[in-house]
């Protein structure tokens, strides 16, 4: 049957790809020998991981006194980093789950990497809730409602930290399963193409005996939908619950009902920025520009623009509420954010998160690779500072001026943060090399409906380029 791509839409796949081209383009990275650029990137990531590991080791061995936290600022970089990484993960779930439910086909080229990013980001985030506690060897299992021989010793279901444990662990599990299910047909493709016995065995095991029958495909589709349904509320719930770590407290600047939607918007905002950062590198390195097209980038930039504006509105609402509440501590907390000793952090946050995404109103900027890449990093810097501002500047000057302090990070704060970067990128680089970085199976489903093989261009000004098939 001849299928034609709607002439009013931009094709999602360019370069006149055939089904075989897709398989080839994706699989060759897995099958080829590692190239120098990849080796360098992996070595760098592992170097950073090693440096970070030293900081983590010292923190575990000597205590969290190695960090800059103090009697008043009990959480600082640790929880800032935690919220930041968790936020980054959100784009992956949103792309894989919500966009699937909404049948957004453009998601197909980016969902695999975005989901991988989610999982690695959650892993990086999970370092902090464990490491930031005084006795991590106990935290690792005491926070779960495990049966024990201590009688009625139980966890505190009132504590938002317990909610966090459930929210993050559920999120991680669902994301991992969702991602893996999606990988199975592609693993099977690699298995089938594999020439060596080792790769055939490994990918064979990974593909769980996928046989490509219609029944299998049907189950695959069904499971994907179910998991998408399960994951969708998680997009909203995880960061909502993370925000409750702050919102349920009494600390001015934390005790805010606006936090849940504001955190979710912020998470998607930062998540898409990170997806863009990674995708722009990957499509370039692995020559996948035909699959991850300018249209993808533009669409994601629009999401950044929208969520960035939501975040901006939230910031302004907070300021308004502080003024309108008439609570002097609340008023001071926000005044202090903007004009106190950490004004520069607030300034960075405002510039990066509210002002810079507005540049995406300009089409030229949102379709420029360089500008997008730069802004995606700017947004992530801004979102890190948002969490820093919320956590540190609220705590450092709360109710009693006698306890007001400054927070200064140490090398070990930086080192622990580097550790999670090292972890994230090591995993990500391993992923791009050994896993199919684009969901071949799903991309193939749109080849006939949205590629320049099938498109009929009716751009008035570009009539000469009209192609028929």
């Amino acid at each position: 049957m001849e299928v034609t791509t709607s002439p009013v839409r931009e094709p999602l796949i360019t370069g006149k790809k055939t089904l075989h081209d897709i398989t080839y383009d994706v699989c060759r990275h897995v099958e080829n020998k590692p190239n120098v650029a990849w080796l360098l990137a992996l070595a760098t990531a592992m170097g950073v991981l090693a440096i970070g590991a030293y900081a983590v080791w010292r923190t575990l061995w000597d205590g969290i006194g190695m960090w800059g936290n103090n009697k008043t600022v009990g959480w600082a970089w640790d929880i800032t980093n935690f919220v930041w990484w968790i936020g980054i993960g959100h784009a992956g779930t949103l792309i894989s789950a919500i966009l699937l439910l909404f049948r957004q086909k453009w998601r197909n080229a980016v969902n695999r990497a975005a989901e991988a990013m989610t999982i690695f980001a959650v892993l990086a985030a999970a370092v902090f809730p464990i490491l930031h506690t005084g006795r991590p060897w106990l935290t690792a299992y005491w926070v779960f409602p495990l049966p024990n021989v201590f009688g009625s010793l139980w966890i505190d279901f009132n504590s938002p930290l317990v909610w966090d444990v459930f929210a993050v662990s559920t999120y991680f599990t669902v994301s991992l399963v969702f991602w893996y299910i999606g990988l199975i047909p592609d693993f099977a493709t690699i298995r089938d193409r594999a020439k060596g016995i080792i790769s055939r065995t490994i990918y064979g095991a990974l593909s769980f005996g996928w046989n490509g029958s219609a029944k299998t495909w049907e189950r695959y589709e069904a499971v994907s939908l179910i998991l998408a349904g399960l994951a969708t509320p998680l997009v909203l719930s995880v960061h909502t619950i993370v925000s409750m770590d702050f919102a349920t407290s009494v600390i001015p600047g934390w005790h805010t009902t606006i936090f849940p939607p504001y955190f979710v918007a912020g998470a998607i905002f930062s998540g898409f920025a990170m997806v863009l950062t990674l995708m722009i590198i990957t499509r370039r390195l692995f020559r996948l520009t035909d699959y991850i097209t300018m249209q993808h980038i533009e669409l994601m930039n629009i999401i950044i623009l929208v969520t960035g504006s939501i975040v901006g509105v939230a910031y302004l609402t907070e300021l308004f509420m502080a003024w309108y509440s008439g609570v002097e501590y609340e008023q001071y907390a926000f005044l202090n954010r903007a004009t106190g000793p950490y004004w520069w952090a607030y300034g960075i946050m405002m510039t990066c998160n509210v002002v810079s995404p507005q540049l995406f109103w300009i089409r030229k900027i949102r379709t420029s690779i360089v500008a997008t890449f730069a802004l995606s990093i700017v947004v992530n810097i801004g979102m890190w500072f948002e969490r820093f501002v919320i956590i540190v500047t609220s705590l450092h000057r709360d109710f009693l001026p006698s306890s007001w302090v400054m927070f200064y990070p140490t090398m070990f704060d930086v080192g622990t943060y580097l550790f999670t970067f090292g972890l994230f990128f090591t995993l990500f680089f391993l992923f791009v090399k050994f896993f199919p970085v684009i969901n071949m199976a799903e991309v193939k489903t749109i080849l006939k409906s949205s590629s320049d093989n099938t498109v009929v261009h009716h751009k008035i000004e570009e009539d000469t380029k009209v192609t028929t098939h």
């Binding site: 000597d62 205590g63 969290i64 006194g65 800059g68 936290n69 103090n70 009697k71 008043t72 009990g74 959480w75 930031h132 506690t133 005084g134 006795r135 991590p136 106990l138 935290t139 005491w142 926070v143 010793l153 139980w154 966890i155 505190d156 009132n158 504590s159 938002p160 930290l161 317990v162 444990v165 770590d245 349920t248 407290s249 009494v250 600390i251 002097e328 501590y329 001071y332 005044l335 004009t339 000793p341 705590l395 709360d398 109710f399 009693l400 001026p401 006698s402 306890s403 007001w404 302090v405 400054m406």
Partner: protein, 1031 residues
């Protein structure tokens, strides 16, 4: 029938095989064949041996923990494990005195409380007394006598020294601080009379030469009057820090607090004026305070004298004119209207100034009322002149032998730097110090004395008042009581000091009373009570004749006084003046090696572990130095031609043109804790009218050294930012009108109208069926002295973290004193952060508020902090995983986290001595866990004491009352500002107080949060005519 059962390992043993008997004690009963013996089993045996060898070697390499818990084989009669014993005793440190009760556990002193039987210290203590128990377990103490750097036996030492003393040639001098003990005085007397030309010289690091000389001229007696601040309605102090460091601060703080307390039935309080250069603790508590230059002090007093004498018929004198001092006229007016009920004191060491003070008090008719010359006190008997003369004699080679009795003049005498040179001219140099210090280092022989907690002694702080000191522990080291040492060297027939002491008490005190017929009963009672009051006996007075004041001829008449004062004081000095002071914790530096005192933040600057120059704001602005967030600048202080580089603290209240520096630092030989902390200020002491003065007004230069410095401050913000919910204060006049004056009553808008936030809730809260522990802290009484902070630290095994960690803002104190200055600004938040140039000061003890709706409890994921049925917010250390969420969510920021392992950790061994050495650990309270790394801790309301009190009462079948339970902080407070008890007991003092004050002065800090604390604060009331400053 006897049981004859026997067990045997094998048939060989049963048969008593001779082969087996021979081998019975060997590890392997038969040799393992290593060589191939042809049977084919050598490999297996080899492996067996190897296996054994490896596991044995591995096991031997494992260090088995050494636990030195030694059970009592024969239990001492009075010592029951886990049951504390209490012994009344006396803290004497030179002229510093406190009557105490020592708590011992299993024979170890672990805590010091005040002795309520004493009418000198009234059961109060201060930080130095509280901390002194740790000095007992100082690893730097000498373990036995030393001769020329070598450990010797006491017999050898006695022999050598007796010989040396006989052959010393020249005079022999015994040097000591003020001796408060009559029996010690007598023992020294026996020594000096045993050697021809031997003399006893007393000096004080905080001398009262001025008062002694003035009183000698005026009353013929070189003694201190007994002050009674409790009888004074108007108190005017010129630089006398009588609540902090002046003479006997515990006594004065107790007396002062009596006049300052207000209640429903007593709406009066004394009025307190303070004229001083540095902002002292006393100045911080004054109703009216004015900063004056130290070089003006004589003239300001002269002005006051003229104002008083004009109205009281005295003769006016012609003092140099000075610019009007704020509040001085008002002070004069108040003094005149409170004749006989007022008190003027001065911290000056100048006899002329003290004579003026005497004259003023005389004109006001205060003698016999607030000053008692008939029952003088003996806290300061030293003479700097006598000490100076001794040094001159030593330099001239006239002194053959010198014995330093527990004193350290090489460090803490103003002319101590001359001592080193003078000592080289002395043949025999002996010290009885229990540690190597700056002076002991110069001595050849050291006969270490016991620590005071190991000693017998007596003391007479005031005429007619006596107290006994008894050992609370067997001597830890091979030390000997210095009195016994002196008696031995004197060849006295009685060398055992206990017998000597009781013998003297039998002769004098027992024979002068008629209540007890039997000496043993008299002695036991005195020992039990610790204090013996109103005996009418005076045992120290005769000794005063030895003090030489010959060269100080103080004129009594005002005209000649004016001449002396005009020549020594300047009306218009423009140069910088250095004013030396002592810190509440460190004092003269004798206990500088005590980490509890080093870590105790100074109540005013909130800085610890350091010595710094306090400079006025104006000077800070000129030099462009500010103290902000713990960062400060350094200056070069040039004095007497010597330059010292010092950090500064920009100090509100510091009088313009003056800078302040604390004594007691810059120790070179105090021990690991104190060495190299700060600069030694003793050599900077100046002279006025031939007497040492605590200021230096000439030739002082302060220049910005353009270096930044991190100072260890526990509080870096000066003001309370106009947050009326935190500090609620008013003036007496308004309080009289309205008991709720100054209260900030936050109301919530509800549909039923405005309501108290604590009345609005969906939840009915916890129920407290049995007890409900509650505390009330009177901000009016609290003087900020920090005795509670140290007491809490001792009681609850609170770790010391050291300077670096305080800089990192991680001190562990469970109870802190927040100090807030007033600000001139009212609206501008930036300006409100800056204190007034001469601010009002408010102290607020802050500890866990034990909220009934505790924000910390709900956020802990593992239920490590929970609410008790008695209203306590409890911490379960072994359940804590250390998320620090509770600390973040605490509005009062009283939770403390163990960032590191503070015990048994090399990193903290030098500062946290109580948790890092076997000796230091003896001071730990066995009832309280030493917290592990990574757990949260905080005030527990001394739950171990609550449990003990409840059990004691239960054993007697009654409910616990106020006498059964008290917290360490409330117990230590010298002004009774902290009251603790059971709110559910209608007869408890706390219930009565809160019933009175619920609709009056009692408030909750941050009431609008509705966390419903169990700690109430009572509004701060100043005896001012009207509110003066904003925020």
């Amino acid at each position: 029938m006897k049981n004859n059962k026997r067990y045997w390992k094998g048939i060989e043993e049963l048969q008593n095989d001779p082969e087996l008997v021979k081998r019975a004690d060997r590890e392997f009963s038969e040799l393992l064949p290593i060589k191939d013996n042809g049977k084919g089993d050598s490999r297996r045996d080899f492996l067996k041996l190897m296996g054994f060898g490896i596991s044995a070697a591995t096991l031997a390499a494992c260090e088995a923990p050494i636990r030195k818990a030694i059970p009592y084989i024969v239990k001492p009669v009075d010592v029951d494990p886990t049951i504390p014993n209490y012994y009344a005793s006396t803290y004497i440190d030179g002229g510093d005195y406190c009557s105490i009760v020592v708590k011992t556990r299993e024979g170890r002193p672990i805590k010091i409380n005040g002795n309520d039987f004493s009418q000198v210290t009234y059961g109060g203590t201060n930080a130095q007394v509280q901390a002194s128990v740790l000095s007992l377990y100082d690893k730097q103490r000498l373990e036995g006598p030393v001769a020329k750097g070598k450990a010797v036996s006491w017999d050898d030492l006695d022999q050598t020294i007796s010989q040396q003393l006989r052959g010393a040639g020249g005079r022999i001098a015994v040097v000591s601080y003020t001796v408060l003990s009559p029996s010690t005085q007598a023992a020294i007397g026996e020594f000096t009379s045993a050697y021809a030309g031997a003399k006893h010289v007393m000096y004080d690091p905080q001398p009262a030469d001025g008062i002694l000389a003035a009183n000698k001229s005026m009353f013929g007696k070189a003694v201190l009057p007994s002050y009674d601040f409790s009888k004074a309605d108007v108190i005017v102090s010129f630089g006398a820090d009588f609540l902090g460091t002046w003479i006997s601060p515990i006594t004065y703080a107790k007396q002062y607090s009596k006049t300052r307390k207000v209640s429903k039935d007593k709406k009066t309080m004394s009025r307190h004026y303070q004229f001083e250069s540095n902002l002292s603790l006393t100045g911080a508590n004054a109703d009216y305070r004015a900063g004056i230059r130290a070089s003006q002090e004589g003239l300001v007093l002269g002005q006051l004298y003229n104002l008083i004498s004009a109205k009281t018929g005295g003769s006016n004198a012609n003092f140099s004119k000075i610019a009007t001092v704020p509040h001085l006229n008002k002070a004069a007016g108040d003094l005149l209207s409170a004749r006989g009920k007022s008190l003027v004191v001065s911290g000056s060491n100048d006899p002329a100034v003290q004579m003026l003070v005497n004259q003023i008090n005389q004109l006001l008719g205060n003698y016999g009322q607030t000053l008692d010359m008939d029952r003088p006190s003996y806290f300061r008997r030293g003479s700097s002149t006598a000490m100076e003369n001794l040094i001159k004699d030593m330099q001239a080679g006239r002194v053959g032998a010198v014995i330093f009795y527990n004193c350290n003049p090489a460090y803490d005498f103003f002319a101590g730097n001359q001592l080193q040179d003078a000592m080289s001219k002395v043949k025999v140099k002996i010290s009885t110090a229990d540690k190597i210090d700056e002076t002991t280092l110069l001595a050849d022989y050291i006969a270490p004395d016991h620590h005071y907690l190991e000693s017998w002694n007596d003391a007479s702080p005031r005429q007619g008042s006596f107290s006994l000191a008894q050992p609370a522990i067997m001597p830890i080291f091979d030390t000997r009581q210095a009195q016994s040492t002196l008696l031995t060297w004197a060849g006295s027939p009685e060398t055992d000091y206990y017998d000597y002491l009781s013998g003297r008490w039998r002769q004098s005190l027992f024979s002068s009373q008629s209540v007890e017929k039997d000496f043993d009963r008299f002695w036991d009672k005195a020992l039990y009570d610790g204090a013996l009051e109103n005996t009418g006996v005076s045992l120290l007075e005769t000794a005063s004749g030895e003090i030489a004041y010959a060269n100080t001829n103080v004129p009594v008449d005002a005209t000649s006084l004016a001449g002396t004062i005009n020549s020594a004081y300047k009306a218009d000095n423009v140069g910088v003046e250095l004013v030396l002071y002592q810190k509440i914790g460190i004092g003269s530096g004798r206990q500088a090696n005590n980490p509890w005192l080093q870590e105790m933040p100074d109540p005013i600057t909130k800085a610890c572990w350091d010595n710094y120059l306090t400079i006025p704001q104006s000077m800070g602005n000129e030099m462009d130095i500010e103290t902000k967030e713990g960062f400060t600048g350094m200056v070069n202080l040039t004095i007497n031609g010597q330059t010292h580089k010092l950090p500064v603290v920009v100090q509100p209240g510091q009088a313009p043109g003056t800078v302040g520096l604390a004594l007691g630092y810059g120790r070179t030989k105090a021990g690991k804790v104190a060495d190299k902390l700060g600069v030694n200020a003793y050599p900077m002491v100046g002279k006025v009218n031939g007497n040492f003065a605590f200021f230096n007004a000439s030739d002082v230069k302060v220049e910005n050294a353009d270096e930044s410095y991190k100072i260890a401050q526990t509080q870096t913000h000066e003001t309370y930012m106009g947050r009326e919910s935190i500090i609620q204060d008013t003036v007496l006049a308004e309080y009289k009108e309205d008991p709720k004056a100054g209260r900030f009553e936050f109301k919530v808008e509800t549909y039923e109208g405005k309501e108290d936030p604590e009345d609005v809730s969906l939840w009915h809260g916890h129920k407290y069926p049995n007890h409900h522990w509650t505390m009330a802290i009177d901000l009016t009484s609290c003087i900020g002295c920090s005795a509670c902070t140290v007491s809490c630290q001792v009681e609850n095994n609170v770790a010391v973290v050291g300077k670096a960690e305080v800089v990192n803002r991680r001190e562990m104190h469970w109870l802190r004193i927040d100090r807030y200055y007033s600000s001139d600004a009212a609206e501008d938040l930036d300006a409100m952060e800056i204190a007034s140039a001469n601010p009002e000061v408010t102290f607020q003890p802050m500890l866990c508020q034990h909220c009934n709706n505790a924000p910390c409890e709900t956020v802990c994921p593992v239920l490590a902090t929970t609410h008790s049925t008695e209203g306590l917010n409890q911490m379960t250390y072994n359940r804590c995983i250390g998320t620090r969420y509770c600390a973040n969510n605490c509005p009062y920021k009283v939770r403390r986290f163990n960032w590191f392992k503070y015990h048994d950790n090399e990193q903290f061994a030098d500062v946290n001595v109580a948790m890092n050495t076997d000796l230091g650990k003896m001071v730990l309270n066995p009832d309280v866990t030493v917290r592990a790394r990574g757990v949260m801790e905080k005030c527990s309301f001394c739950i171990q004491r609550i449990q003990l009190g409840k059990l004691e009462a239960k054993k007697q079948g009654r409910r616990p009352d106020d006498d059964d339970v008290n917290t360490a902080c409330a117990e230590a407070c010298p002004t009774d500002a902290i009251l603790f008890g059971d709110r559910n007991n209608p007869d408890s003092a706390i219930s009565k107080l809160l019933n009175d004050e619920q609709e009056g002065r009692a408030y909750h800090v941050l009431q609008e949060l509705r966390v419903m604390p169990n700690v109430y604060y009572l509004t701060k009331i100043r005896n001012k005519d009207q509110e003066e400053t904003n925020a």
